[in-house]
């Protein structure tokens, strides 16, 4: 849940990159980290196995700037995509304000995408969140590879809630910032609607 600090005029939001193993979640964060100026980002923390697979999470803090006098920060996390890391995946999802679902566009990966999307639903429900109540953006990654489904086919298979979606080649940086922008906008628009509503706890007790 977003942390809104009225005293210091700061907003902190958490966006989680979710998706099946090797779909490019870490690559998204690495590209963002490589392109954002040093004064707008913190250290990127990666907890990975020896084979460079995400073990717990990757973490990247970003500073968006001032909005209505609020210094606005994002904390980007990835989850481990591999099926057997579900316990840690659920933990990282705790307190998320928005989700970027990174799908692998390659044809053989369709079942993995569907399974991961289903797993996202389940893990959000574990935290008491209906997926319809949280901003979600889908990224169709690896568009640069052969043997991929068309975006239209992927929309049909994965985007039945008609959430914002973006084609991408995270390794080349294409679509990475479009996706992040879309997710940021979704999260902050939702937050804006809450700003005038008396909240029980604006310190942001996480889920």
């Amino acid at each position: 849940m977003s942390l809104v600090n009225y005293a210091t005029r700061e907003i902190t939001c958490k966006i989680v990159y979710y998706g099946p193993g090797r779909s490019g979640k870490t690559t998204n964060l690495q590209y963002i980290h490589s392109r954002v100026p040093w004064d707008r980002k913190g250290e990127m923390v990666s907890l990975a196995t020896e084979a460079d697979r995400t073990l717990f999470f990757d973490f990247l803090p970003l500073e968006l700037g001032q909005i209505s006098g609020f210094r606005t920060r994002f904390q980007l996390y990835t989850v481990p995509g591999q099926v057997y890391y579900n316990a840690t995946r659920r933990l990282v999802l705790q307190g998320a304000d928005g989700v970027v679902f990174v799908a692998d566009s390659q044809r053989p990966q369709l079942d993995g995408n569907i399974e991961s999307l289903r797993n996202l639903h389940e893990n959000l429900l574990e935290h008491g969140i209906d997926i319809r109540d949280i901003p979600v953006v889908i990224q169709y990654n690896k568009r640069d590879l052969p043997n991929v489904f068309s975006v239209e086919q992927l929309e049909e298979e994965l985007n039945f809630r008609n959430v914002p979606s973006h084609p991408a080649s995270a390794l080349l940086g294409e679509g990475v910032f479009d996706t992040l922008r879309s997710a940021s906008e979704g999260v902050l628009k939702k937050l804006a609607r809450k700003l005038e509503v008396p909240a029980a706890d604006t310190m942001g007790e996480p889920g």
Binding site: A7, S68, R90, G95, L180, R181, A192, A199
Partner: protein, 162 residues
């Protein structure tokens, strides 16, 4: 019930934290919530990455709690990691603001016993705080939304190449 505004709560967090640092002799201390968001800190500067420490500590706390659940415990008590020069203490507690965690880093000028002793005092100080009331209307949602597009354009313009 007496209720405090957010600024007062924040100040209220600062004072027990200052007392804890002074009395226990730790070098670094940060108070975070379960998501790893920083509520108060002492001693962090450019040498140590405060946000990184906070996010990793929240991860440790979350995984420790999940591990405890799997083993039939609600949650383990404090966590303590000792290195050659520095030691790390992670202590969680419930408060009016939900579960919070104190992360403290210390060297041979303190000890785990001292840290645990003054952590208990710190928790007592936080728990004596009145509940907060931060439900003030201090910003216009319409104004915020109007500025949102411009701010996002500004941030992403160079990055996307728009």
């Amino acid at each position: 019930m007496e209720r405090l505004e957010f600024k007062q709560i924040q100040d209220a967090f600062d004072e027990p934290l200052r007392d804890f640092v002074r009395e226990s002799g730790v070098g670094l201390a940060v108070l975070i919530n379960r998501s790893g968001q920083v509520l108060a800190q002492h001693g962090f500067d450019k040498v140590f990455d405060l946000v990184g420490v906070a996010s990793l500590a929240a991860g440790i706390n979350a995984s420790s709690r999940a591990l405890a659940n799997q083993l039939g415990e609600e949650q383990f008590e404090h966590l303590h990691h000792a290195g050659r020069a520095r030691q790390l203490f992670l202590g969680h507690f419930d408060s009016a603001a939900g579960q919070l965690m104190l992360v403290a880093v210390f060297d041979d000028r303190s000890s785990i016993g001292l840290v645990r002793l003054f952590f208990e005092q710190f928790v007592g100080g936080i728990r004596r705080l009145p509940s907060m009331d931060a439900s003030r209307k201090t910003v216009s949602a319409a104004e915020f939304e109007a500025e949102l597009e411009t701010s996002l354009d500004k941030f992403f313009h160079d990055l996307i190449g728009g």
